[in-house]
Amino acid sequence: MIGLLAFVVPAWIFVIGLYGMATSRHLVHLVMCLSVAQSATYVLILEVGYRLGATAPVFSDVLSTVRATDPVVQALSLTDIVVGATVSALLLAFALRIYKTCGTVDPEELRPMRG
């Protein structure tokens, strides 16, 4: 049961972010929704590497033989966060640029590829 719930949470975060993106009427809002959808992957990755009753894989005051969660997925989530932050920043820069060229931040009003 707890296992099912654990995987429902990232799925819900992802879908709600996707819904926000699909219905977005503002480019900055759209980028924020993308961040929400992407944060589902942090939750998912960390949950996949979790082991019941395990501690964090930092062995400062416990022996290295103690049951610990997977360090590889945690290192991956760090990469994930860095990539997420850069994607958001780059998209926000594009949003600014689009506003300056087209005078709008509503995706509905943007005509596709006017060149």
Partner: protein
Amino acid sequence: MNARAVLGAVACALLLGMLVWGFAGLPPYGHYPGPYGTLINTVASHERQLPNAISAVNFDYRGADTLGEEFILFAAVAGITMVLRNDRKRTTPEPLPPTRGRPPAGRTEAVRLFSVAGVGVTIAFGVYLGIHPHLTPGGGFQGAAILAGFAALTFVGLGYDAFQRIAPQTRNEVFEAIGAGTYAVIGLATLAISGAFLTNVLPLGGNGQFFSAGTIPLINAFVALEVLAGFTLLFLEFARETRVEKEEEAGE
């Protein structure tokens, strides 16, 4: 029902199918098999003399991946600088709505006080987190991201001019290049010394000591430099956008 709704319904059904299919294939919750991570947990403590197995993965066992990750950040910052450049000469269709009615650059004493007071705390916490990648759940990425908060605080508390004086563009660009480049140079040096890219060639020291774990804290320091300079550069680029509006208004 119009075509758009039908298309949406089909896409939603497909997404649901894909999600269920994907989640069904995951290992059961709380029982991740992952032989690789388990092995690192067991051997990292004595092989690399550090308690933090995550940093061992990031900066040592999979150090080449982190090099790539660092260059993703580098490329993104370069891309943003390019996307936002040369806007000074361009005429915008109309000024950005939020800045239009706002009084120019007025800030209360309270905002100034808390921003400037926050700078010290931010730097102390960022440095503390950033220099202990091998000992605690910290590291260059996290520490420098917090440290870069000083840029935002300076901008909020003292304004664009002061911010630009404290952290000039060129200096940040040079630091960012040094941070990214030195990581690659360390990799090449270890390649020359030991014959494998990013092998830990430095003395490992004692587990739990500040000077331990060989190349890990060294690589981490340059990652921190790159992230700090990169983020500050980002803040500068975005802060300059508010500046353009002001200059145009002054010119009108």
